[in-house]
């Protein structure tokens, strides 16, 4: 199944500048692994060395924070919209 992933500015260097990509996966963990296959290096920017989502990154499935769903085990279905949202500091 295919889902759409919104890619934030800091991670677009891995997606050749694309702000949205298609990826596969039955849950968020599988999705991140699929992204890593296509865009090597991106997983390290989403997950830490223990495999958990990094503390300054949030992942949303259809607008809902996966921390309040089943985290990386959150199931995905065809057509879901995934957002990866890291903290952004700029202001000046």
């Amino acid at each position: 199944m295919s889902v759409r992933v919104r890619v934030p500015t800091p991670l677009r260097k891995f997606t050749n500048g694309a702000d949205e990509v298609a990826a596969q996966g039955g849950n968020v963990k599988a999705l991140v692994d699929d992204l890593e296959k296509t865009y090597p290096g991106i997983k390290d920017r989403i997950c830490d060395e223990t495999g958990k989502v990094r503390r300054f990154v949030n992942v949303y499935v259809n607008g809902d924070d996966i921390r309040f769903l089943q985290n990386l085990e959150t199931a995905l279905k065809e057509g879901d919209n995934i957002s990866i949202v890291p903290a952004i500091a700029g202001g000046h």
């Binding site: 919104r6 934030p8 500015t9 800091p10 702000d19 949205e20 920017r45 990094r54 503390r55 300054f56 949030n58 949303y60 607008g63 809902d64 924070d65 921390r67 309040f68 957002s83 949202v85 890291p86 903290a87 952004i88 500091a89 700029g90 202001g91 000046h92």
Partner: protein
């Protein structure tokens, strides 16, 4: 003490007084309000401009920096003739010129752990227009400690994000992000760039949130959700839910 609007003030604010959700009572509430704007830069400039225009009674402007040529593409409070001037002084001059009703207090210092609580305690709302994670987390922590509502925002390149926090009632910035990224992964405007109009969009949303909160809107604030704006993908906006965990 009751406050009445003068004839000139009624004329000045007439276009927002006639908005059904606002009206004269909201205008008086804005007149009695005090907003602290942290940073007179890309976010703080449009936010402060619109807040002064809207008739906020007192604006505090915090910024330790001087105006540089590279600021002028987005920091619309400052002009070419201001290069080298303290940003807070440049800001005060523009805001006084726009609206003499608004008292502008200036703080030409960095908002830090030593001065934050004393400075913030005098205000009803904080607009965080800072440009670094240390200050953004500090604003969150001080606002929660003092029970002051605030608007958070961050911008880089063609993208921005913003949320509003009502201490004790809605999710806070630390509910959203536990901590900052490591220094090597941080993109800031100085190193990564920012389109001025994107800063303006986010700063203007922050001013709107401040006005809504101070005017007494109880619903519709950007609480418990993060609004992200990506100009590159055709001005797509999304409000992602954060949580229902009160700060």
């Amino acid at each position: 003490m009751s406050i009445r609007l003068t004839t000139d003030q009624i004329e000045r604010y007439s276009r927002q007084i006639m908005v059904p959700d606002l009206g004269g009572k909201a205008q008086i509430r804005l007149r009695q309000s005090r907003v602290l704007v942290i940073g007179a830069g890309g976010l703080g400039s449009p936010a402060a401009f619109y807040l002064a225009a809207a008739g906020i009674g007192t604006l505090g402007i915090v910024d330790p920096d001087k105006v540089e040529l590279s600021n002028l593409q987005r920091q619309i409070l400052h002009a070419t003739a201001d290069i080298g001037r303290q940003k807070v002084e440049s800001a005060k001059a523009k805001l006084n010129n726009l609206n003499p009703d608004t008292e502008v207090k200036t703080y030409p210092v960095r908002f830090d752990a030593d001065n934050a609580a004393a400075m913030a305690a005098d205000y009803n709302f904080i607009v965080d227009g800072s440009d670094n994670f240390d200050t953004k987390f500090l604003v969150n922590d001080v606002a929660i400690q003092l029970g002051i509502a605030f608007s958070h925002a961050g911008i880089v390149r063609l993208q921005g994000q913003t949320m509003t926090v009502l201490p004790g009632k809605s999710a806070c910035y630390r509910c959203l992000f536990d901590g900052p990224p490591p220094p090597e992964e941080i993109l800031n405007c100085q190193q990564s760039g920012i389109l001025g109009a994107v800063a303006g969009t986010l700063g203007t949303i922050q001013a709107t949130e401040a006005v809504k909160y101070l005017a007494g809107f109880e619903e519709g604030l950007l609480t418990d959700r993060l609004l992200t704006y990506d100009a590159k993908s055709g001005a797509a906006k999304a409000a992602d839910s954060i949580s229902s965990v009160p700060a």
